[in-house]
């Protein structure tokens, strides 16, 4: 059915004659058939947010409803691809419209021509329900795509195909209890604003290994957890997000560039195919789906991009995979909400944001979690959601940061003063936190023994103490400190510079395995313990600080991943010998 436009104001269009349309239906607007979505209905008038530029649209133009809500296409062909906010594939769009994104382009999300080798798992006669696996497709060299019965459908398999098929081919027919036949293709659709169902949700208990020392050791995140990365511009949010996308030990990564720079998406597009997953040697792009709504693309599609991303994540989760969703940045998404809300002339809440900002944000983050997937097979999957927040002026008291902090369990606060000193990642160790420590502590202890968490606590304690001592130094100078306090300051400096600092652009340092992290921190703390001992024996403090092994500790993070243990043993032995020498020297004098 169709209606006619009565009003155009930027991305908001009002059309009349749409009495039978549903709220949230996708509509096609004007002769260019721009894509839009119905937000509100009053009588037969619908307020529509248009996902493309509305320049040239005027009253009288036709609006057609498709009768379906905003949905994504799910099936083989999503990995290794880059989509816009409403799941249109950007490389295919480039073939149609050239280097710029012109309007009204209609390109299916999944390639309709490409053939996939479908290997059936189910047999004729099997009784299947939603979430059960029909068969598999080797989607990329890294990922086996499981083609599942869509939620809500069940029945007996009366036919199943195998071999080369395009995504729209019927690959199986199910007959339900009422005798109705359901024809299933590899492609299924799901409305983006509705969370995909699962059978049970669990409390997250396994860490997501990111290879980033400050994250893994000090503020770990659990698989299925939620985290926020807030920080002013230039503090390295995007680098942190890229590092997580590269090195996290998850099966699938969904990277949503929401209102950010075009060159950043290009960077990912160029770099990820070159980078190898440290666990299986496959190119990282083979496990990655990119969603790009760069800041110059239409603002309404920015609002949708977050949902498009998390729905695709849930689909892979349902196959039993661990998925990480990285959204950069949720502040831009909130601004898109604010802009639409303003055009709808809604009563604004704080700073012009709509009153429903917090509930929308929590709905998004709550779609993360560890779940028992639908289907008879025993599968567990997880979605980990990590959102960047770009608070104006770095001020965390603003509504988006505040609403986010109430929901997420891990908070990596980026600090501009660290960034100015080129201490990266610029995650502030005093203001950041992880609420998963209690859940994950058991896992760390089981894997690496009691020492891991004990060392973590010691390190945090030293850093905390350093910040207090710094206050004193600022007032009266460091000569006023006792040798033990001076040592604490030195150790804290080593923890900061030799352990926490990690260079994302140096191959040896970009990824740090748990074992290496543990040994490195342990070595710094050993230095602390040995020196403390030595000071008790009246050793010369400056002599202790000047031992040669310290320079080696300073470079220890660059040690080769294969041979670091021997290197570290050697440094530890040298350190012990040199400290002993300082003690001996003190006794002689």
């Amino acid at each position: 059915m169709s209606g006619t436009i009565t009003k155009v104001s930027g991305p908001l269009v009002v059309a009349e004659g749409l009495a039978d349309a549903n709220v949230s239906d996708v509509v096609r607007v004007g002769s260019q058939r721009l894509i839009g979505e119905i937000l509100n209905m009053t009588g037969d008038k619908a307020s529509i947010q248009v996902y493309e530029e509305t320049s040239g649209l005027g009253p009288g133009a036709v609006v057609e409803t498709t009768g379906f809500p905003m949905s994504v296409e799910l099936g083989p062909g999503m990995l290794d691809n880059i989509y816009d906010g409403i799941q249109r594939p950007l490389p295919a769009m480039r073939e149609v419209s050239g280097d710029s994104i012109s309007r009204g382009i209609d390109v299916p999300a999944l390639d309709r021509e490409k053939k996939w080798d479908f290997v059936p798992v189910a047999k004729v006669g099997d009784k299947l329900a939603g979430g059960d696996v029909l068969g598999t497709v080797q989607e990329t060299s890294a990922i086996l795509h499981k083609v599942m019965v869509p939620p809500g459908i069940s029945g007996e398999v009366i036919s199943i195909e195998s071999g080369e098929h395009v995504v729209t081919d019927i690959i199986a027919v199910l007959k339900d209890d009422k005798g109705k036949e359901h024809q299933l293709a590899m492609l299924q659709r799901w409305p983006v604003r509705i969370a995909r169902p699962y059978s049970k949700k669990y409390v997250p208990s396994r860490p997501m290994n990111s290879g980033q020392r400050i994250i893994d050791t000090l503020f770990p995140i659990a698989k299925g957890g939620t985290a926020a990365v807030p920080g002013p511009f230039g503090s390295g949010k995007t680098v942190v997000q890229h590092q997580l996308a590269k090195w996290s030990d998850v099966d699938i990564v969904i990277y949503i560039g929401c209102g950010e720079r075009g060159n950043e998406m290009t960077d990912v597009l160029m770099e990820f195919p070159e980078l190898k997953d440290p666990r299986n040697g496959e190119p990282l792009m083979k496990r990655t789906v990119l969603i790009a709504n760069t800041s110059d693309m239409p603002v309404a599609a920015r609002e949708a991009s977050i949902y498009t991303g998390i729905t695709i994540a849930e689909y892979f989760r349902d196959m039993g995979y661990d998925v990480a969703v990285l959204a950069d940045s949720t502040s831009r998404w909130a601004e898109a909400l604010r802009e639409m809300s303003g055009r709808l002339e809604e009563m604004p809440g704080e700073e012009g944001y709509p009153a429903y900002l917090a509930s929308r944000l929590s709905q998004f983050y709550e779609r993360a979690g560890v779940v028992e997937c639908l289907g008879s097979e025993d599968r567990q999957g997880s979605v980990t959601a990590i959102g960047a927040v770009s608070p104006p002026g770095g001020d965390l008291s603003e509504p988006v940061a505040q609403a986010t902090m109430r929901i997420v369990k891990v908070f990596w606060a980026l600090d501009s003063s660290l960034a100015y000193a080129r201490h990266f990642p610029a995650i502030n160790w005093l203001t950041s936190y992880s609420l998963y420590l209690d859940n994950l502590g058991a896992w760390y202890t089981e894997q690496f023994g009691e020492a891991y968490m004990a060392n973590r606590e010691k390190a945090m304690h030293i850093l905390q103490e350093e910040s207090e001592l710094q206050e004193i130094v600022r007032l009266v100078g460091q000569d006023a400190l006792s040798p033990a306090d001076r040592l604490t300051m030195e150790t804290a400096k080593m923890i900061r510079e030799d352990f926490l600092q990690q260079n994302a652009f140096v191959d040896e340092d970009a990824y740090s395995a748990y074992a290496k992290q543990f040994r490195l921190l342990d070595m710094v703390l050993q230095y602390d313990a040995l020196c403390r001992d030595a000071l008790a024996k009246n050793a010369d403090m400056n002599g202790l600080f000047a031992i040669e092994a310290r320079e080696k500790i300073g470079r220890a993070k660059m040690a080769d991943a294969a041979t670091f243990e021997a290197d570290y043993d050697a440094i530890a032995a040298q350190m012990k010998a040199e400290i002993d020498a300082v003690i001996a020297g003190g006794e002689e004098a």
Partner: protein, 457 residues
């Protein structure tokens, strides 16, 4: 046949409401003909039924509700582009004001442009040597980058921008370049400073100037940078030129945007600026870049003055979130007589990592860069401590760092507005400064480079 309407219902500058219109579309360009024959321009902001809300680009003075005529032209605002634009001066609406002939259009381009497909972008990675150490050595500019200068009232941003425009070149390359300069609400004197500099160096023949001066209509400023970028896109992607775009001053642009937003009675965001300021700025800044398979590029240097030198003010703040770094000028350094007064610690170039290193600049670039930053940061802290507690309170190391910071500002930063340093010179000066520090503190540099480049004492 274009219809004329004599149905202006209301004028509240810069907005106007026209009744009984037909077939008018959003964002369409219009003309108002005054009773005395004068023609002014406007564009459609909203259409509802037969009522159009229109934004005037010039003043409303003299418009008569009963006798003025409004025509809608059936297309959004366009710019007539051609290679002949080089060497010419236009007003903020794209009309020639240098007394020369009209431009014979090669094409008419929509000044709003279209978003660039991220899959079609080529990542900027070609090092541009600006001859300014603080930029080349520490905040490297690459082709296709957008790197703004954050300045304050009374700081010499114009001198720095002109120096960059004068000296910038890509090593071992002699492709055609062009400069597009947009004066957005700046004074005649500041605009002349740039134009004279272009004239002096002969660059004027390769320059397109769009000029909206402080006494030109404020609302016209919304169109000016878009005119400039449309010209830049044409020259870069149709004519394969390496285009440097200088937009000054973005603060004036944002204020014009706020004026229109307030007139429309929109819900304001921070400090009265509209909630869509980020999106609006992004649609301009993101037009910089390179495209795969195209030779040309757009490198953009927007200049903005931070009100009260406050980096968290919405204009610098939102700009910083969109652009690929920022060069920040410091009032403190300016007072000390450091020229150019670039505050290197908060300055940043996000794209530097891909533009430096072996084959581009030199293998030791990245390490020395990080070491200079870290050393200067620690040195400044030490100097601060020294002013409170006196020199005796510093450790031996900290004294060296304090000395390093002092020398760094004097030698590395303060090079003057006419010195053009090659990247090798910049790196050599960096190493000389690093030799002040104890060798064991040079943790950010690979030992083999220290061996190779550190001056032996």
């Amino acid at each position: 046949m274009i219809k004329e309407y004599k149905t202006i219902r209301e004028i509240a500058s810069p907005l106007m409401i026209v009744d009984n219109v037909e077939g008018v579309t959003y964002d369409e360009l219009g003309e108002i003909e005054l009773p005395n024959g004068e023609v002014r321009r406007c564009k459609v902001l909203e259409v509802e039924g037969s009522k159009a809300v229109v934004q005037l680009f010039e003043s409303a003075q003299g418009i008569n509700l009963a006798q003025s005529k409004v025509r809608f032209l059936g297309h959004p605002q366009q710019l007539a582009v051609s290679e002949d634009m080089l060497g010419r001066v236009f007003n903020g609406m794209g009309m020639p004001i240098d007394g020369g002939p009209e431009i014979l259009a090669d094409a008419h381009m929509d000044i709003n442009g279209l978003p660039m497909n991220p899959a079609a972008r080529a990542y900027p990675a070609e090092f541009i040597q600006t001859g300014v150490s603080t930029i080349d050595g520490l905040n490297t500019l690459v082709r296709g980058q957008k790197l703004p200068i954050f300045s304050g009232s009374g700081l010499p941003h114009a001198a720095l921008a002109a120096q960059i425009a004068r000296q910038a070149r890509v090593l071992g390359d002699d492709e055609t370049f062009a400069v597009v300069f947009a004066a957005i609400g700046i004074t005649f004197e500041e605009s002349e400073y740039f134009i004279n500099d272009f004239r002096r160096t002969g660059a004027i023949d390769r320059t397109v100037v769009f000029s909206n001066l402080a006494n030109d209509p404020a609302v016209e400023r919304i169109a000016t940078p878009r005119m400039a970028l449309t010209a830049a896109e044409y020259l870069a992607f149709e004519k394969d030129m390496q285009v440097l775009v200088i937009l000054t001053d973005i603060t004036n642009y944002a204020e014009a945007l706020r004026e229109v937003s307030a007139a429309k009675k929109e819900v304001p965001g921070r400090r009265g600026y509209p909630g869509y300021l980020y999106t609006d700025l992004a649609t301009m800044y993101e037009r910089a870049g390179r495209r795969q398979g195209k030779k040309g590029s757009i490198t953009m240097i927007p200049i903005l003055t931070m009100p009260e030198d406050d980096k968290t003010h919405p204009i610098p703040d939102l700009t910083g979130y969109i652009t690929e770094g920022q060069i920040i000028l410091s009032r403190e350094l300016h007072r000390k007589g450091i020229v150019p007064p670039v505050d290197v610690l908060p300055s940043l170039s996000r794209l530097k990592d891909k533009g430096i290193g072996a084959g581009k600049t030199r293998e030791d670039h990245a390490g020395t860069m990080n070491q200079l930053f870290a050393g200067y940061s620690r040195g400044k802290d030490a100097k601060e401590l020294m002013t409170i507690l006196g020199e005796a309170a510093l450790s031996e190391d900290d004294k060296l760092f304090a000395k390093f910071a002092e020398e760094f500002e004097k030698v590395y930063v303060s090079q003057g507005n006419t010195t053009n340093r090659s990247i090798e010179e910049t790196l050599t000066i960096g190493w000389e400064l690093l030799s002040i520090l104890p060798k064991r503190e040079l943790k950010r540099i690979k030992p083999e480079y220290i061996e190779k480049y550190l001056p032996k004492k």
